[in-house]
Symmetry: C3
Subunit: 213 residues, 3 copies
């Protein structure tokens, strides 16, 4: 047991909330494409658990996380289907939802980072594992809904994941206690994301329209 | 050898027919996008063997099925290329083709389900393995052809896969002989799918057009 | 050590140039979609290292190549970000760029082929491993940029990969020395690709517009 890794107990509380929030965002995206309820369930599942699946595949970590936790599968599918009922009222909950989504992004990033560190991958791979866990679910959702992933164009989102992973690994290198490190990185990341939404902060964009043909 | 699993011999007869039918559906989709014959071969391959590949990856089952069966690779690529020649006449065979496609869906689902059961994954994972095998080939085909997967919008399709997997696992839990179970589940699934096509049965759709921005 | 495999040293020189060139092609595609610089970095990474990642996953070869080579991760991300600066001048370098891209395609193909042969996969799997390494990065790039993969419609591209793999394995079967084999296959493939671009050679296209519904 490596005491510089986040205690499982801290993130275990946030994790189910996070995957439920991601599942709901997936269900709304499916609704924008007029999918049937089966499609809604699939997109909910993929959005919530797809990032962790890709991380586990790339790190060669078998069995894949959710295959050992049927309760998560039921949770995300239920959250997705529930969304089809409560969608008309969700607009009023926009702010709650954005906060839950931000919490999900950061919890996923910290978990992904920790998993790679535990497996003794190099630092850059740990950062990428955190980002893959944080953003790949949303990328899969957008690819299945046939649109360019919003994560590549939105206010600071993936960069928040990067910042959180970088902060966590830096504090860890300085020997900061894992629980404290997790709490501090989580709070800082959440603050950064919420300020970015509030201020509409975006990364500079690269436009290239020249045709070579 | 687990005698509650379908005897390999039963599905082995259907499997080559099924992957050839799926390869042909992939080739037609490639033709709708004016791809070159190389693209046709790739889409045929991915449609026929992509679902099983994703299942094997997610279950951590190496080596991946088709890498040990070059004959399947040759079969699906041949079926895809043959389609470019016989496409003008295939419209007349529409009904035959839909039946073959339905047989493929169900055979894939039963095989996927059995593989996960053999590896002692939980029940919900076995159901998902069945569905992944049944529908992911078609999803990959549609993503590569840049369209929203039809499986999320068509008459009962993925739900047939779900029903077949559920039925198979239920009968198995009651101790029904594997060959009988396979035959009964296969026939029931095929009937359900054909009736759904005939009656235009669809799942309820979820539409959500509200913009949050 | 199998002396019929290409000496690592030969391809190791070309490999970094190849992944940098692929990363740049990814960055330009991201720029056509007005992505932010984070999206540029992701697409550059996926274009350059995605093909090898998919190959390693399908061959069950863990750990995945780039996770053991952080220097490649830094290289492709740097090349992608650099592209946003030098893009206005790259049009003048079109010919250089096309040659680098062709070198990448062929180096990737030979490496992928060798990896599968080393793992003692059947010949057809070795050929597919070569093609997967050569073209899947570009396919992922196009899927993430929401367009039909150009590799399915362009002048001879994937077929060059196929030809190179076939030639390499044939010469190997005749016992040709690995370094000589690599050099000859590389040169022949490069020549074929450049002549195909120059002459606008394409594979026949399959068009199928009939609707079944």
């Amino acid at each position: 047991m490596n005491s510089l890794l986040p205690s499982i107990s801290v993130l275990t509380v946030i994790y189910p909330v996070a995957i439920a929030a991601e599942a709901m965002s997936g269900a709304l995206a499916a609704g924008r494409r007029n999918m049937d309820i089966f499609g809604v369930a699939v997109i909910a599942f993929v959005t919530a658990l797809g990032g962790g699946t890709i991380r586990d595949l790339i790190l060669g970590r078998f069995p894949i996380g959710w295959t050992q936790h049927p309760e998560y599968v039921y949770l995300v599918i239920s959250a997705g289907l529930l969304t089809t009922v409560i969608a008309p009222f969700m607009h009023n909950l926009k702010r709650v939802f954005l906060v839950l989504d931000a919490m999900g992004l950061i919890a996923f990033s910290l978990i992904g980072c920790s998993v790679a560190v535990e497996m003794e991958y190099p630092t850059v791979v740990a950062i990428m594992a955190g980002m893959i866990t944080g953003i790949c679910g949303g990328i899969l959702r957008d690819v299945l809904c046939n649109q360019v992933p919003v994560v590549f164009r939105r206010e600071l989102y993936a960069s928040v994941s990067l910042a959180v992973c970088g902060m966590f690994l830096t504090l860890r290198a300085f020997g900061v206690d894992a629980d404290l490190n997790t709490a501090v990185s989580f709070a800082a990341g959440l603050l950064l994301r919420l300020v970015a939404i509030w201020g509409g902060w975006k990364l500079p964009t690269f436009s290239y329209q020249q045709r070579w043909e």
